[in-house]
Amino acid sequence: MKPRDPSDENASGDAYDEVIDRVFAVTVAVEPEVERGRAHAHALYQELLLHPAARQNLLVSNSARFRSRMLCELLIQGSHEAGFNDPAQAAGLARLAITMAESLTAESCGGREALNGLRAKAWAQLGNAHHPAADRAFAETKERCEQGEIGLLDLARVLDLEASLRRDQRRFGEASLLLDQVIRIYQRLGQWHLLGRAFKQKSMACGEAGDVEGEMALLRRALDLLDPNEEPRTFLAARHNLITALHQSGRPREAFSLLFHTRPLYLKMGDRMSLLRMRWLEGLVAQGLGRVEQALTAYREVRKAFIELGLDYDAALASLDLAGLLVEQARTADVRRLAEEMLIVFSSRDIHREAMAALHFFCHAAQVEKVETALVQNVSDFLKRVRTNPALRFAASV
């Protein structure tokens, strides 16, 4: 049925007053209860984390005390945050969230819609945290979504998580379609900051698919919408990606200008990683502008710092940027020396087998002086991909 003409609204609008009064009264009465539940859930979450994994499972499965919508939300959020540093913990927390969500009832959750959303998010989080379980997890998620209503915000979150997985799997078309749905939902709900985040997510899918122009267009839209006060890191990341994309698309002057205006944000962030990423970007931009020595200095500094910090992938990627520039300058002896250093450093580290195979391939080519820019780029691209998808296999033909 189409919406009515609003011209008659005044005539019948008063009929809703009684209902609205009743609903408002219930809502206001419920709010403090929800806030108390939220505070209690935070305490329970901290308590749960103190136990070993097996005991956590036992508590969530058997103790009614550890069974609430809020606690389940915190487990999902905790799993998401752990995903950046500790994938095993992320998967463990997602599994706990699933166990809890499956044992909750619609009444205890505040309705069927909330329960469906919680279950779908818990499964989607597992799919995102533990790639081998992803297909099953997202099949379950889909089933949960189809089983009944699910809130739009929860649905967007679920689609966003699936898009992130598809991007990691390099299924960029699917990721883009999912993100289009996310974008439509945030537009409908007027959640502009979240919309900005969705545009940023989509820009990453575009960039990884090789569409740098599309990536830049989406990043500009994202930057218009993202609130730097709300999530300064996300805003900075979007700027960082745009500068990188400008460099990649051969617009070093624009990249330089934007970097100049973004430098205060990096400095304001102040942590070592942000400052290193800025320095790395300075190297890239300097390379684009043909300032070879400036670029070499920046790459060397960044590489050294990443090695000291034990950030092997970043160290390897910075080394490859340095190698790429040396190759461009036909400084084959320097490339060979760099490759020898890389072998010594990375052989002693616990680096993923396929990533190591790629580095060996590069180092061997350097030793026999057969390195070309394309080879450096391909090895670098592979390292970026294998970082998020350890199931990838390195093919020496790259």
């Binding site: 009515r4 609205i20 219930v26 709010e31 505040g110 909330a114 007027g190």
Partner: protein, 175 residues
């Protein structure tokens, strides 16, 4: 622009509700939701807001977007129920073993006319359905996947219902 556009401006729930009240009424009127059915829709949305208030940045936009969606779902559900009623009535009519009375004959004729006006694929699908074939058999015969047959059937039922409602069927015999 909403007073809650800026999350730093933390107004109380009561004040927020007071502010959105006129927009809520306008929305329900606009979507033609009967007042007695408004309670569930509004209560669900507001409870969800209270639970998610820490994630929602612009509560007013969120609430209005959510309610618009719920209003659309409300009417979609009503339409689905209507299609089900029509479907059940037609199935019963076709399955009736007793020789048809005049009224039943009229209904069958109306149905046949309505079916004739449907697109070919709906005609085939509903004919098979009303001959007693199961959805899986209909899917197999017409080349639809098992996953999509219920969606296609619903669309065809929607078309049939629309046709019946806008054709001669609503006529009443004078008492």
């Amino acid at each position: 622009m909403s007073a809650l556009d800026n999350p730093q401006v933390d107004i109380s729930l009561e004040e927020f509700l007071r502010n959105v009240r006129p927009r809520l009424k306008t929305l329900f009127v606009r979507y033609g939701i009967p007042p007695q059915d408004t309670e569930d829709i509004l209560q669900q949305a507001l409870l969800a807001l209270v639970y998610q208030r820490h994630v929602v940045r612009d509560p007013e936009s969120w609430l209005m977007g959510t309610l618009r969606n719920k209003c659309l779902l409300y009417w979609r559900e009503h339409r689905r129920k209507l299609y089900e009623v029509v479907d059940a009535a037609v199935l019963e009519l076709m399955a009736d073993p007793i020789p048809p009375a005049q009224e039943t004959t009229d209904l069958r004729r109306d149905l046949a006319i309505a079916l004739e006006h449907l697109p070919e694929r709906c005609r085939s699908l509903l004919s098979l359905r009303y001959q007693g074939f199961e959805p899986t058999e209909v899917a197999a015969r017409l080349g639809y996947s098992q996953a999509s047959i219920s969606k296609v059937t619903n669309r065809c039922l929607a078309a049939l219902t629309h046709r019946l409602l806008t054709s001669r069927l609503p006529r009443r015999k004078p008492h």
